[in-house]
Symmetry: C2
């Protein structure tokens, strides 16, 4: 039972979400993570709601189990400490505006010369290159510019953002992938790499279907509400007491769905293939709802589940926290306070690995500079 990244040290200069989310993933995989924060205010996310007392639960949900040291990278004494940390680190993460790390004397060329095996992972709004490289961005900015908002919502209403912060989180996930690929590669070359992640790029990377649609057919896709644009039926359907979702992603599932709903559509040429069903999705929805409106969500979910058709309730977060499948997967973990008591809940680690522990608790998030003493002693000790 060993975590795959056991023995790996990640120094994390990032703040808010994308970078800290990547560091959290690396931590869940076994890396030791030391946050290096600016003295005084620390990570901006320390000021983000919700709060539990005076502490940000937003911050704690992403930074649990990390250590913190406050260093001013423009001060000689603190730079000396940072240099000693760099000498032991495997990975440095940063999300300064492009150019700032260079100005501080820690640009890639210089780092790579002094620490050839160090991996540098950078994440920024627009990446290290291109005309807008130096502009700042946040989740809503890249969801808007990257096109995800143009696909989200109802055509008759104003665009909305995806309710998860995928502007940041997708970038954090790609940053983690880049770091992991570089760690693997380094085992044969001995050399570090620089990873350059742009939040905007990562939005584009999630658009496969939409990019294919616009470039292969010339049709610019718009928002489709709850409906999937490439699969039918895959949508929310009204029952007598509210809506629930069904997806029948291939002909066999569609046939089962029709049998279960007693709908004589399986031989209808308008619905014979997924392609035809997508073209006639609106009509198909009306025909399905003519049946589903006749009973409750619970009725249909039980009946369709028994038949093997993919189906679900739309759950709110309170329901998610109590979902037996999510609980069985250890996806809601306890974040502990300093006395080792559960303080609140956070999302667990979705990367379930054989021969690795899947911890059910997480340590507290660090106070700003809260681990200075132990970090300095560790640097002195060995």
């Amino acid at each position: 039972m060993t975590q795959p990244l056991k023995g790996t040290l990640v120094l994390d200069l990032t703040h808010v979400l994308a970078g800290p989310f990547a560091a959290k993933t690396l931590g869940d995989l076994g890396a030791r993570v030391i946050k290096v924060e600016p003295p005084g205010r620390g990570d901006d996310a320390r000021a983000f709601p919700p709060f539990k007392g005076e502490k940000s639960a937003y911050f704690a949900a992403i930074n649990h189990g990390k250590a913190s040291i406050a260093l001013d990278l423009e001060e000689d004494a603190d730079r000396a400490t940072f240099d000693r940390l760099l000498a032991r680190a495997d990975v440095l993460l940063e999300n300064f505006r492009p150019g700032v790390l260079e100005r501080l004397g820690y640009g890639w060329a210089s780092l790579n010369q002094r620490h050839p095996s160090l991996i540098l992972g950078s994440v920024s709004g627009y990446g290290q290159t291109g005309p807008d490289a130096k502009r700042p961005a946040y989740d809503v900015i890249v969801q808007a510019r990257g096109g995800v908002m143009s696909l989200t919502g109802e055509a008759a209403h104003a665009p909305v953002r995806a309710g998860a912060a995928i502007g940041d989180i997708a970038a954090g996930m790609y940053l983690a992938q880049g770091v992991l690929a570089a760690l693997f590669d380094r085992t044969s070359t001995g050399k570090g790499r620089r990873i350059d992640i742009s939040m905007l790029d990562c939005q584009v990377a999630m658009l496969d279907h939409a990019v294919a649609m616009a470039s292969a057919t010339g049709t610019v896709p718009g928002p489709t509400g709850a409906r999937h644009p490439a699969v039918a039926p895959a949508d929310a359907f009204q029952a007598s007491d509210g809506a629930f979702v069904i997806t029948a992603g291939n002909d066999a599932l569609f046939e089962t769905l029709c049998l279960t709903l007693d709908l004589p559509l399986a031989d209808d040429p308008r619905f014979a293939t997924n392609r035809a069903r997508v073209d006639n999705a609106r009509l198909l929805k009306r025909l399905i709802e003519a049946v589903t409106l006749g009973a409750t969500r619970g009725h249909w979910i039980a009946k369709l589940t028994a038949a093997g058709v993919p189906v679900a309730r739309m759950q709110d977060i309170g329901e998610v926290l109590k979902d037996p499948q999510i609980a069985a997967r250890n996806m809601i973990v306890d974040v502990l306070d300093r006395n080792g008591r559960p303080a609140f809940k956070a999302a667990g680690n979705p990367i379930k690995l054989s021969d690795a522990e899947d911890r059910t608790t997480r340590g507290p998030a660090p106070d700003l500079d809260g681990n200075r003493g132990e970090i300095l002693r560790w640097l002195d000790g060995a």
Copy 2:
């Protein structure tokens, strides 16, 4: 210039999106990917629109540059071929219903015994364990059950899905992270691992803020339209000719925003901290729009950009395809046809690495079983 996964062979039994998306990422990082498809119909996504002629551009956008061989894993001759492929593979990806791989004789225990260094990456709707493990799921199903839909849209309207297929794509990204971590780990242990990814788990993993909110405060968060729930201002704002987005994620940016809009709010205690601004986000939006309605989006975007405030247009996919920053980052690549001519566009690789080529084109997606001859010759040859 070497891709980090050069020399790595990925056998891919998955279909539709989550698994193929992970394989695409591993391919972009340099792995060789061989799709092993069921004879006859192949990957379900071959039937998904949009189509370019008879071919699915949806399928091609995710499967470009891979090879395909059709094998019936219940037929002895095809099983023998599959076994020879397994003996050379580093990674096997699969997304059968839990239990199916075991029934075919390729369960983890058996694979691990015969091929101790092979990594097995499984992705399924609900994971390999838990009461719902054997139930099927798709993107819309897990966006609904996992809570993302409950946060997406406007409170007064029906829930909508995130317009990118994050139910699948997040699972694909976590599968890729698990595979990369296992590849790294294997360099020291020599042993493969089994990765068990649940699409539902991956939705929960993206909910950090919402889980913290519900468990730390008891308040179940709902949809907030275009507004970010933890940062203010971070929303769409109306100008005289339409809406655009602004985010001021810390006090300094908020002060700059107020100065640029000539709004005397920076010293107002209702807006003095991010926490206060989130509490008063509705009022703040009205005050900002009282100014922004007085001129065009173009005016405000130019002015705020010059001042360094994060700001953007909401772009549709046609605009994304022409965005100069996205082009400069090589995020829209040409998928070539069999004659080497550009056929349509796909999203590029967002993991930009030093000393690695960032290709501007991708090879065609394979026809079903299109690479049988060369794969069999390769197996015989060495």
